[in-house]
Symmetry: C2
Subunit: 146 residues, 2 copies
């Protein structure tokens, strides 16, 4: 469905928000451990998120990544997916036909559009904050999910 990079990005954002809530900056090392993602690759993905302005970073000792409560409330999974994977998941023809569109639909076009619309809606209405809330106290480390 999504690329690995995108999956790591979503997990990372949730973890960054959690750590920010706890009053610290999140380091690549800590994020990678908590989310079960490779450290170097996580760093790459985080860079993309920072460059796009989705999360903040502070360099140097004591630095790390952060996501303010206000931003975590605004930032949706759709934003993250769009940032890493682009909008291909929502726009590309399900059968891979390059010239398929509303006016010249492939036999699956309508049904696919409906499913993808739901996916998009689901991502658009789910904020990073929602994810953190869902996690709750039970999964103290996120690690528990692995």
């Amino acid at each position: 469905m999504f690329s690995k990079a995108c999956e790591y990005a979503i997990r990372a954002c949730v973890q960054v928000a959690r750590v920010t809530d706890a009053g610290h900056h999140a380091t690549v090392k800590g994020i990678a451990e908590a989310t079960g993602a490779p450290e170097a690759f996580t760093a790459k993905v985080l860079q993309q998120l920072v460059r796009a302005g989705l999360v903040d970073s502070i360099r140097g000792r004591g630095g790390g990544f952060s996501l303010s409560p206000a931003r975590a409330r605004e930032l949706t999974l759709l934003d993250i997916v769009n940032c890493i994977d682009g909008d291909g998941v929502f726009t590309r023809c399900g059968l891979g036909l390059p010239h398929c569109n509303a006016s010249r639909p492939c036999p699956l076009h309508e049904k696919f559009a409906e499913v993808r619309g739901r996916l998009r809606m689901m991502l658009e209405t789910t904020s990073v904050r929602n994810m953190v809330d869902q996690l709750g106290e039970a999964n103290a480390g996120f690690t528990g999910l692995r």
Copy 2:
């Protein structure tokens, strides 16, 4: 969403059914041209479908691939997707968490399950025959869709 191989497989099945309806056997060359897929790769995908028993093939001169009307009515897109891509699309965690399941769900689990269920339902209720009917007379070559 699906692999290229899977997209080609679905397109190929539709074309095979069309040609069978017209009373011929479908050749790799013809299928590849009609569906706009690379010939050698199409051949490979068709082999998988044949081995799995989803379509029939006859070797030698005058041979090719066929899909009887009865089979085309039974054969669903879900069968094809399962044959080529497996069931990962429907079972894998949306965030890529290996230990995510119903009893230990990730924050997105429920919502994802709902969307994937719809996708699955959509594929399960769409037969190759349905696809051929949708195409209709207007797109005589399938090629028109490209």
